[in-house]
Symmetry: C2
Subunit: 745 residues, 2 copies
């Protein structure tokens, strides 16, 4: 159809979709006949999710604070099990026992030159009853900070990432013996105390600056949706890039009765005490800093001159926690496969929030509930999934993916043997479909996105995302969005429950959500509640419905596809792009080191020194050698060939029959990309293509063994990791070849 | 010498400069013998300027407010004449009479929803006696705003440049009938009311946002050097891109007795009343705006959510001025040429400020005074300039280059016949030598910069600038800074007194200053005074000395060079770069129009519309045709050839003799780039290579006839202007050829 017609109103697209339904697009892994039957069931399914149902679950689940270990959290789990059982499905609670510190004492005071005691309290908002549930709310704190009582000069470190400390170093400022104050943002929060401690700091404050998360982007709550002056972002600061889950039980499931590591042997606790604060509490501290004004990019939105310090402000931070083990309740639902019960599709969303959690995570949980109601209805109409569907509502995600991780660690061998893929969701709001995950599932999820109607525009979710990519993209990404067919999905770092599946167990994964409209500032605060949601989020629940439709269709296809819908051509293409990035990174590292050394020799840094504002020259750099990345070139060439061969075989295969042998092989492809040895210095992370960055946290590092070795200047390790990754890519290619040969003819 | 040694202390460079003096670098236009004599005199000259002298002039000239028409301004002119005469030089005052409105009434109030009356007053600062000279200070206002009394809803328009109105248009916001409030910055101030009026606004407020000019960059005065909450930037808002000088006497000198145009026939007065205000006065107005939050790039540093409006804030702006003609006193000093009295080198700096003007302009004027003292001393020792040196201290620059423009308009024919070049300075502070001007003088001023010692580093001013370019530049500009020999000088737009010389009379010009260290926020305020200067500027006057040394050496070379030191190879190279920019601009305009139209056809703007925050699609664009810029390619090829030919001829010429004929021809090269017809729609601007932008103000547009035609979508005009410019470049090339043939053999 001509693109000219696409400029019309939503209605027109509805009309245009009728001919599409008469001549349906193929569904990967299905024969044309099977696809017709499949699409009929999908249409039935898509008609079920309803905003009213979503709202009714939300009203129950978000009624009270429901964090890990809370009475209402347990009550929610029981209510979910009862409700799901009432729909005729098999649901149960699976309990673990995990380490969960809660504050006994929190004190932050400025002891000089003037005195100030931080309030450390989010205020009750008139007309917001949830905010008044103070008896059940956790105070604002960072979980897995160590206990401590420290006093020292304050230093402002911007976002507290390594580059910020380089800037301080140029200014001759050390944080040794100091308490640092960092803005939220620029990295995952747990990176800030880690990097601060590496540089000798004795304490760490993290605050939400109003430029990033407050009155800068818009009116603050309750007038608007943004973070008010006393709003605080809670959150875990365990060193999650080392391993996820209960810090006291790395690699093993914290089943009830497990004795965890003693505190002093837990590597992922912070090395220094850490406390998150509001910008209301941060303002007097920042205003009391001396020293030079910060670089322009470091400035925030408070009405003061941001300065680095150190001091004259001196600050005392005292934190003491109750280090209890608490019960963790995952809700697990199983819809057994009719033909292939030992092939599992796992789908999860966490159910615990930091307080009421209306957005995070319940906006995703209510879609999950609605999917289950829909699937139960289909079962009653005679639909049968070939494969087993396992639904999970994880507890303890906020503390560091505890519920999902302990479950995966407990069932690791069975999961690796049986699981086809894991599909995750989390917070959901208005806007665009966001698709991240294993690139072997890129084609699959693109096909699903073409079946879903965006509630605001009437376009398909796929089309709306395509047009946004065209609107926002560079010339090359615009061209690609117009011509590539599949929109690119993003690689996964961390920040939600896909991590133990993908990066620890090596199971292919997807992470889906709607979002991009309706930003707000209630993340991890007591204002993430129904009152705020009803005014500023998906208040009509139409994006909750869209998410349930998207995931439901995806799972129904995965459950019943005769040939599992993995596709490797795009994956090889994406991996080739990562290799290009690694080459560019190596070249840039080399060029930069040579350039900086040359500038040191030329006297550039003496020449540009302003005696009124002196700066040290940077340290001379080691010039990286040229690296041998040829093993990766060869491996990716092989992967491309295998991917093409598989497509050719699939074109002539008999997709009317379940390809049991080929499917068994296909399930092993992603696992071939994981190594039993794991990544250097963090063996829990086993996937060699996707990992959260050691110094970014949630942010992904693709081909992390090679990439981070180059970034950190470990040249031999970079080459060794290239060899290791190439070997695993080669194994994946061989499995793809093998699967091609096993397809039914 | 090895670059390795350049990393050492300043002392080392002093030592290393001795061998350089034994084997002096050639001086362009001088034979080796003449260069030796020249350098001896230059060394004598450079030893003269002294910080103490500079400080003593400064104490006199900045003692009281000394704006155009003020008693102290007149007193300063007389003191300068007396002082310079005492040195034995010929100095006099040349008086004009110019239109200069001063406020009779200024009222800014918010009339709803709440009431607020703006203070419109800069406060007296304890310990700063100058700030207390309130009886002599002009109030804060914008000169050449029209009278008016308007009331309307307020709209925030960011910097108030055309792109900002496009954004408002996308949001469905019109400023018709509204009063706009714009931040200072992003364009010259006079552009803001011009563009606002073009869009139908009835009034315009301009304020200094603290993120750009206040506590954002550093502590405010008096604690630090930055603009305090009640600080206001005064300044002219006449439509200077149409013509400079007295608005009532375009093209003619406003000699005493001139009857100017009546107010209603002056094109450069604003169309709507305009008032500059402080961020203290702006804050309640901005806080009272409703509507959506602004785009992130529009936000400032006040502790509020920046919103566009319109309203609910309603504002009344009432302005009434005394439209007087006042006397304007230029100080003119003449040092007659001993051999070539009718070849003039003109050098100027304005002497009027908005209040005491310690930085702007007196930091430059005191260097000019010190140059004159130095030249007078050399004359007494027997030095004789071949050519005539004319020194000017301009009055009325702040109102729109009035003193220089009326002088140039009065003496235009004689100046065009006799002047070799004009050298301008203005505010001066610590840091790097900044060099702008005609590219035929690039080689010349690079040679001068290699003779000047930077006071802070002991490097030459040239070397320090080179190393800063290496530190800050892109890979390509770094490579160029290392290998090209000459550092690139910038093209001149406007904002100081070179404009009437270069852009109206077509006389080659240079603009020099030191700066880049010691930013501050006292521009055009009462705090630009000796108290502030002594704490936060060139308080030891070593950069004042460096400026006097730089300009003195430059003038002495220009005065005595046997062959005028124009050089055209770099000029052709730079112009070729401008042509590349024009081609890229044309291609980008084309690509963007095609892309936007395509996105409209695809329905992109409906797809990305958030119904909670709606945006209109942009208007369909006319797709530019491919433009014929080949005439410019040919002309620049010819210019390159001529430039090379001239260099070849110069290498074998006899530079021991004054090249009178060749010099006469060389003087006409820059003038060949000016057209009697001037630029389209602004005939006062006659230079076809350099002009202030019609929509940027001070910011330069090179090859403006072609460039602005492309920017505005006048395709036929762009091609016609290319032909016209090519013709003038051809004339310049022919003159260069002719001069090559006239060089003494």
């Amino acid at each position: 159809m001509s693109t000219r017609f696409l400029a019309g109103a939503g209605l027109a697209f509805g009309a245009l979709s009728i001919p599409a339904a008469q001549q349906p697009a193929p569904i990967r892994g299905f024969s044309a006949d099977q696809a017709r039957i499949q699409r009929d069931w999908e249409a039935k399914f898509k008609a079920i999710p309803s905003p009213d149902s979503l709202r009714s679950y939300h009203r129950v689940l978000a009624a009270r604070p429901q964090h890990l270990g809370s009475p209402y959290g347990r009550q929610n789990a029981e209510w979910m099990v009862e409700t799901i059982k009432r729909w005729g499905l098999d649901a149960k609670i699976e309990t673990f026992e995990v380490l969960f510190p809660t504050p006994r004492e929190r004190l932050l005071e400025m002891v000089g030159p003037t005195r100030f005691v931080a309030r450390l309290k989010e205020g009750v908002v008139a007309g917001d009853r949830s905010s008044a549930q103070t008896a059940e709310q956790l105070p604002s704190y960072n979980a897995y900070s160590i206990d401590g009582d420290v006093t020292g000069p304050l230093v402002f470190v911007n976002y507290g990432v390594p580059a910020d400390y380089e800037e301080l170093e140029r200014r001759g400022i050390s944080v040794k013996g100091a308490i640092v104050i960092a803005k939220y943002g620029g990295s995952w929060r747990g990176i800030k105390p880690k990097v601060a401690a590496e540089h000798g700091a004795i304490g760490c404050l993290i605050y939400s600056d109003p430029a990033d998360d407050g009155y800068g982007p818009g009116d603050t709550y309750p007038k608007g949706p943004y973070r008010p002056a006393d709003g605080v972002q809670r959150g875990s600061v365990a060193d999650m890039p080392l391993y996820a889950g209960d810090p006291s039980t790395p690699n093993v499931g914290a089943v009830p009765g497990t004795v965890g590591l003693p505190l002093d042997r837990i590597e992922t606790l912070t090395k220094i005490p850490v406390l998150p604060i509001s910008y209301g509490d941060a303002q007097p501290l920042l205003a009391a800093l001396g020293g030079e004004a910060v670089p322009p990019a470091w400035r925030g939105g408070l009405p003061l001159t941001y300065k680095t310090g150190p001091g004259p402000a001196r600050v005392r931070l005292k934190l003491a926690f109750d280090w209890n083990r608490v019960p963790l309740h995952n809700v697990i639902v199983r819809i057994p496969g009719a033909e292939l019960p030992d092939e599992w599709i796992v789908r999860g969303n966490h159910r615990d929030g930091w307080a009421n959690g209306a957005v995070d995570p319940l906006s995703g949980i209510i879609a999950e509930m609605e999917e289950l109601r829909g699937l139960a209805a289909l079962l009653s109409q005679g639909w049968r999934p070939r494969r087993t569907l396992i639904y999970a509502a994880w507890d303890g995600e906020e503390q560091g993916l505890l519920g999902s991780t302990e479950w995966v660690e407990t069932h690791r061998d069975e999961l690796r043997a049986k699981t086809v893929m894991y599909l995750n969701t989390d917070s959901n709001t208005r806007g665009y479909l966001s698709m991240g995950g294993s690139h072997s599932l890129e084609r699959f999820i693109n096909q699903v996105a073409r079946e879903i109607t965006d509630p605001e525009t009437g376009l398909t979710a796929w089309r709306r995302l395509q047009l946004r990519t065209i609107a926002d993209g560079s010339a090359s990404s615009r061209a690609e969005a117009r011509t590539r067919g599949d929109l690119r999905i993003s690689a996964l770092g961390s920040g939600s429950d896909f991590t133990p599946f993908l990066q620890h167990a090596g199971i292919a994964a997807l992470n889906l959500s709607f979002g991009g409209e309706g930003d707000n500032g209630i993340y991890h605060s007591i204002y993430d509640n129904l009152e705020q949601y009803g005014r500023f989020n998906d208040s009509s629940y139409v994006y909750g419905r869209a998410l349930a439709q998207t995931v439901g269709v995806a799972l129904m296809r995965l459950a019943n596809a005769p040939v599992l819908p993995f596709h490797f051509v795009g994956m090889a293409d994406t991996y080739a792009g990562y290799l290009d990035e690694l080459k560019a990174l190596a070249a840039t590292s080399r060029d930069q080191a040579i350039e900086i050394n040359r500038q040191i020799d030329e006297g550039v840094f003496q020449a540009i020194n302003d005696p009124w504002s002196p700066r040290r020259a940077p340290a001379r750099r080691e010039v990286p050698p040229f690296l041998n990345l040829a093993p990766l070139d060869n491996a990716i060439a092989q992967l491309r060939q295998s991917a093409d061969r598989f497509e050719a075989a699939l074109r002539t295969a008999n997709t009317g029959t379940v390809a049991t042998a080929a499917n068994a092989t296909l399930r092993r492809v992603e696992q071939a990309l994981a190594s039993d040895q794991g990544l250097p210095r963090r063996s829990w992370y086993r996937h060699l293509v996707y990992a959260p960055g050691f110094y970014t946290g949630y942010g992904v590092k693709t081909m992390p063994g090679v990439r981070e070795a180059i970034e950190q200047g470990y040249w031999k390790e970079a080459e060794a990791e290239a060899v290791r990754l190439a070997e695993h890519l080669g194994r994946a290619a061989s499995l793809i070849d093998q699967a091609a040969g096993q397809l039914p003819r």
